[in-house]
Symmetry: none
Subunit: 410 residues, 2 copies
């Protein structure tokens, strides 16, 4: 895949125009039964309909046809960072996802709680899927006993059920370390080893992880189920080119959940404070208004279109789309020069999961071709004047409509 | 980006069929006001309409969504050469653009006339944007005094205003030389240096450029405004694979302007003589007829759809489209086996500049799918049976319809 960012960095320029990118997480859907409406088609959305009639529509394949992207790759693509080029390690993505303290130089590792047999072979790689509460209880016990190994600070974070995140902070830590998770039962956990024996920094990380495994087993030896840990995906925080340099933007992120704030921060956005609980749509709008003058690019994220889809709750997803529709006039009142509304992937209620289907894209701003769209739906988007684009192609298009890209070549 | 040319070279074969590729420069447009017609939609084009009804249409994104390409990348893409892979240096593109004598081994450099302060710091990087006439006067003065440095021949060409082109001809000249243009005022011009000190050929070019700078300043010391030169983009003529080998074509270019003749020559086309002034549509047709038997691929370029767009003159662009429409029956009378009509980019009058919008593509020839298009417009093209293509994808399609491409793989 072509990495366009170096070219865009040559062509982009600072202008006063403002871009607002609204991501309705997982907004793309499917009919409940063949021929039926999707969630977007079933929703009553007078404001989106009116906007669609003044906008250009298209379909966006977030990452690649057939690939159902996670939030990380889906969002990186929307921000113009090809996720096949700009990779985030498993440990790093988890640390970002839970909002762990995770700075440059730190190494993040994904942990599984496991059940080990008396001979130390793995009996259950997920320790019977404990509750998240149980995870918290056990992790606190571990953190109380293990806070530092060989001068390296150990920070532990509950993710959910059997999953936790371990962050190592210290001097000269490498992240090229093999997993200790054997990926099967009946064998003991593997020893953490550096991928290359000459890599002293990764050898140090491996030593700390092996010591952590040993200390954890000692601390948990009286636990009935959770008596071992399996580690994988050691990775540092990636150092991606920043949107400030690549796009000459002053970008802000308005999102409630740590994952989205974290991914946005990776590409240089400033995550703004959002009050309120859960998806907090009104509070996000409040944050957008409060900071409107200070930034020229806003990523505004709404989560519940995805969560309701994952719950398989068609009606609840429709309700979340309608709730966004009700907010839309206040977004328009801010008069963004360019406004895009799309998703990071589809989450059809009928699938109860992220899917690979393209998402509809609405683009409102100057220099649009005529478009016959009457609503913001998958069907209308397919006929739209923007055609069919990839996720990574969105940012250059937004910059172009905002007058922020110079001509490529003479 | 995938470079398809090596694959195409394996699959292409010589046949008697003839392909005519008509490029209406910058033909893609925009409505003057939302909902209004584009230039193509506003034009009265009975011949194009009739042809569209027998053709297949599609939309072509010349280089990449959001990128407004210059003529160089736009045309290279139409010729099947991915412009991110087949790059032309700044100096080379300028030399080609003005029709400079610029052979293999020569090094072309872009020059700016500048105003230097008495302490030799740059006061104005564009010397107050002199007229092109003034540029010619000063450049003649320079050329009269500097025709050779250390056995290297110096040729100077006016581009426009403060811009000129310097071509060095001699033995063993390299082009990996840093710019002398400091890109800001208040500092002296930089010394030309080879990017790598071991590169003797580029070190030689750098020495010649430094000497040129010194001689130019001496020659211009009494000029009130133009008393210095800033140099950048040293580059040789790129050695691209030739259309003869890649496509097994015997290709000709019919274009009036040096830029288009030059880019066509880079990929192996023979630029044909065109009499007449300016865009010379009738004279181009005459050249096409005169050489119809001798070639099997013709690139036929019309410039004024772009120039009128850049002037912001919607009505004049419409008139140029209508003038092409009037010529069309004579093109069809030659009975090309495959005829494509498209643009190298859009130049909407409302933008007065190249834009990123896709261009309509009309394909006439055998083996077309059914298509409902009634006119050659952006709206009809969007619904066309060819779908939405990239510029570099056009040539394989033309070759296929002309029966010039064998099956790929067994």
């Amino acid at each position: 895949m072509l990495d366009l960012l170096p070219h865009i960095a040559e062509l982009s320029r600072k202008t006063p125009s403002k871009i607002l990118l609204v991501v309705l997480d997982g907004v793309g859907g499917l009919p409940q039964t063949p021929g039926g409406p999707t969630e977007l088609a079933a929703a009553r959305t007078p404001n989106l309909d009116a906007l669609a009639q003044r906008s250009a529509l298209g379909l966006l394949t977030p990452v690649h046809p057939g690939l159902a992207p996670g939030s990380g790759p889906g969002h990186l693509a929307l921000f113009g960072y090809d996720p096949f080029t700009y990779q985030v390690g498993r440990g790093a993505l988890s640390a970002i996802g839970i909002g762990a303290e995770f700075g440059p130089g730190d190494v993040a590792v994904r942990g599984n709680f496991a059940t080990l047999a008396p001979d130390r072979t793995v009996q259950d790689r997920r320790a019977g899927r404990p509750s998240t509460e149980e995870n918290r209880r056990v992790l606190q016990k571990l953190q109380a006993r293990i806070s530092e190994i060989d001068g390296v600070q150990i920070r532990l974070y509950t993710e959910s059920e059997h999953r936790f995140v371990l962050v190592l902070s210290g001097e000269n830590l490498g992240d090229r370390v093999q997993d200790t998770d054997p990926q099967r039962t009946g064998v003991p956990p593997l020893e953490a080893l550096p991928e290359s024996p000459e890599d002293a920094a990764s050898a140090k990380t491996a030593r700390v992880l092996n010591r952590f495994t040993q200390l954890a087993e000692e601390a948990l030896k009286d636990e009935p189920q959770i008596n071992g840990v399996l580690l994988r995906g050691a990775s540092k925080r990636p150092a991606f080119p920043q949107m400030q340099e690549v796009y000459k933007l002053t970008p802000a992120a308005i999102a409630s959940y740590p994952m989205y704030r974290g991914v946005a921060a990776l590409v240089g956005m400033q995550p703004l404070e959002v009050r309120g609980e859960g998806d907090a749509p009104e509070e996000k709008l409040e944050a957008l208004k409060a900071h409107w003058e200070a930034f020229d690019f806003f990523y505004l994220h709404f989560k519940k279109t995805d969560s309701t889809g994952e719950d398989g709750d068609f009606a609840a997803k429709v309700a979340r789309i309608e709730a966004f529709d009700a907010l839309l006039p206040e977004l328009l009142a801010l008069k963004p020069d360019v406004l895009a509304i799309t998703g990071d992937h589809s989450t059809p209620a009928v699938l109860k999961a992220h899917s690979w289907h393209p998402v509809p894209l609405l683009l409102y701003g100057p220099y649009l071709r005529n478009d016959t769209a009457t609503r913001f739906t998958e069907d209308e988007a397919r006929k739209g004047s923007l055609g069919h684009l990839r996720g990574v192609e969105l940012m250059p298009l937004l910059l172009a409509h905002a007058g922020k890209l110079q001509k490529y070549g003479a």
